[in-house]
């Protein structure tokens, strides 16, 4: 009984949940508006595409490597898709349905992911180095050969604009504006479920854990290193491509610089969510909690009256705090 409680208490997911609850209490004391339904719905929407990104990051991290390229993969896929379709739409008047748009971006992402896989499995590079260089290359290729200018709402594929306006379970708020769950949240939830299923219940998903735990041992069991890597990076790339297009749809503008320098924030969320930075362990639930946690922190500072120039400071403190709690927890766990 006691050991069970201990085991549950030492699970990192539980910890993130606890932190979230604590923060929520603290925030709602500071400003009761925090718990307003609109705020919650907004938080979910804002978390949607980072969560999708984070799922991809988690997969690569479990396989034992830090992915530095996913934001550029996401941007590359989303931007080139939007640009291509925008040209088609303006020039030819062709309007693509939303699933096709998402599929195109996802496929581009998967393709870019396979380039990472090539670097990692053929040249045997550490993931961190491989993706750091590929991120640079994707960026250069996109700017030079696809474009670097904004694509504005008027030029965006109309289905994407429609998507960004799709709300589910709508009701009217007090002043008559529709309130509801944004469609992108549903996409994120779908991705989470699929990734959870793959990572938990399929052999190929488990092979990611195996490779992350012990690459040589995984090979000896009969997993093909090349194929598993290809799977990992193509899946992560595809997820990044989808995340990118969802993110771009959400704000109705395709700005190729938008996701720049956000890699580490998302990675931090994934790690705070309990994914082991050295690989081999992590879960989708933890990742979702991690993303929500970091976003509660970064999205609500103004709401609780923290002046903007303090926000970096507070964010830094909170990252250190969350990480410290986790570090101590790991120490406890290892002590058994």
């Amino acid at each position: 009984m006691k050991t069970n409680v201990r085991r549950i208490a030492l699970k990192s997911e539980v910890l993130s949940l606890l932190l979230i609850v604590l923060l929520c209490i603290a925030f709602s004391i500071a400003n009761p508006a925090f718990f307003h339904i609109i705020n919650i719905l907004d938080l979910l929407k804002v978390c949607s595409y980072p969560t999708i990104f984070a799922c991809g990051v988690m997969i690569v991290l479990i396989s034992g490597g830090l992915d530095m390229s996913f934001m550029w993969i996401g941007m590359f896929s989303a931007y080139s898709t939007s640009k291509m379709l925008s040209l088609l739409q303006v020039g030819q008047g062709i309007v693509m349905p939303l699933p096709v748009i998402f599929a195109i971006s996802t496929c581009i992402g998967a393709l870019l992911g396979s380039f990472n896989a090539l670097l990692v499995s053929k040249f045997r590079l550490p993931v961190f180095i491989a993706t750091l260089s590929s991120a640079n290359i994707f960026m250069g290729v996109m700017f030079q050969f696809i474009g670097s200018e904004y694509i504005f709402p008027a030029q965006m594929p109309v289905r994407m604009i429609e998507f960004s306006k799709t709300l589910l379970f709508t009701t009217q708020s007090a002043d008559g504006t529709p309130v509801g769950l944004h469609a992108s949240v549903l996409v994120a939830a779908g991705v989470c479920l699929v990734v959870h299923f793959i990572m938990r219940y399929t052999l190929v998903g488990r092979s990611v854990y195996c490779i992350g735990g012990d690459e040589a041992a995984a090979e000896r069991v009969g997993f093909s290193r090349t194929r598993t890597r290809l799977f990992i990076f193509m899946l992560a790339g595809a997820i990044a491509g989808l995340a990118g297009i969802v993110g771009v749809s959400n704000i109705q503008v395709a700005n190729p610089y938008d996701f720049q320098n956000r890699e580490l924030t998302v990675t931090a969320a994934v790690v705070i969510g309990g994914t082991r930075i050295t690989g081999g362990s992590g879960s989708v639930i933890g990742v979702v909690l991690g993303v929500i946690l970091t976003n509660i922190i970064s999205q609500n500072l103004v709401l609780i009256g923290v002046q903007p120039e303090y926000s970096k400071f507070v964010f830094g403190i909170l990252v250190l705090f969350a990480a410290t709690v986790q570090g101590l927890q790991t120490k406890l766990r290892n002590r058994k």
Binding site: Y201, R206, Y209, G213, G222
Partner: protein, 505 residues
Amino acid sequence: MAEHILELRNISKAFSGNRVLNNVDLIIDPGEIVCLCGENGSGKSTLIKIISGVYTFDAGEVTINGRCYHRLSARQSIAEGIQVIYQDFSVFTNLSVAENIAMNYRVHNKKRFISDRFNRELARSALAQTGVDLPLDAMVEQLSVAEKQIVAISRAICQDVRLIIMDEPTTAITQKEIEKLFEIIRGLKRKGIAVMFVSHKLDEVMAICDRIVIIRNGVMVVDSQAQDFPREKLVFFMTGKEIEEEGFHYAGEETEAKPLLQVEGLSLAGAFTDVSFSVRPGEILAVTGQLGSGRTELAESLFGLRPATSGTIYIDGVETPIRSCRDALDNRIAYLPEDRLSEGLMLRRSLGDNFSSAVIDKLTNRLGLVSEKRVEELSVRWMTDLKMSPKHYTTLASDFSGGNQQRIVLGKWLASEPRIFVLNCPTVGVDVKSKSEIHAIIRDLAAQGLAIVLMSDDVGEIMASSNRVLIMQGGRVVFENDTEKVSESELNDRIIGAYREEAVK
């Protein structure tokens, strides 16, 4: 004649210019227990990895169950019913016991979807065969070495297997568990499953195998039925020369030297309690006991890695608290850890780095900079003193064979000129020849006046290289005597707790 399970023909293999296997032929039939012997670095593991498809071979062909392969993948090998228990087990420490055991089965049978219930059932039945009970949901990283090995064995036998290969399965486990393992192996044999295993412990080899195969420098030198093979020739065929182990005699009895290291009532919460002993200069005190008896923790306490919570340590009769490694080093205590690959040796660094790592602070010139010349001198000196095959001091430690690697770790500590040397299982996984050489080194050190504490499982080693022996059980010392006064079998029984005074009477 029944079909052979495995047939190797003219297998050769080289690693970046090093030829490791040279035209090896080997045939294994169903239900055979084959033992593969050879010195460290003779190519045993390499041969095994070729059979299991982990390494490609440069020349020759492999026939399994009548099918001939010129290239063999790990998947093919598993599909043919070959399972390997590797030297390092190759279990996934980040996964649960059940999943580990079921993993091979799933990969091999292309079970694309995982069900926990299935995993657990499979694991339960496999564990039932081994007769060991393990918590199915525990993470493997929380298991002891022996338990990890059980997982590896269960994983191997949980599916349609025709040949199980075990690479040094007995290094990490104690006598009692070895008996268990042998029972399992005999059970497999009865089912017609062939077993090939590698071991450096010659008694074991002779006890169980039907056939004996010896490799020397990548060349097969003996392939013979065990009963026809003269036991006394084993060492000769492996090493190419005869080896005589002389016993150890403590010369200091008469001089009544004062103890150099004395421990009184030492305890570490959760590891060992109230341990007392003393060691005089020139003495070798053997400490033995089963896994989990607190032996390793005691050793680490003496070196300050896990400072004891109570009790006193006297050095030269003076009370000396050892709270950190620094204290230990200041008092010239050295510690050779149990697992040389992960604890003792920086594999990816040079010989010079390894030799100098404990004394780097002293190898400086007037400016406080490390003197490369002195590092080289130090390395060369210990290479010769320890009779290692001479190589340049910038050679990577990973380029040395197991026995030589162990000598590097020894040399690293000898360079610090210790007075007290704590050795934790120094000859695990080391071949007979190197083993006897290491024993000689240890005895020699004692003769030079060091006080030596030797933790060991190997009863033969204790008999040959200690003058007093101490047995631990559950963190307490349960027996202490002069080595000469106990027989090998008594010691064996005492270790596993099966010794009864009246039985002797």
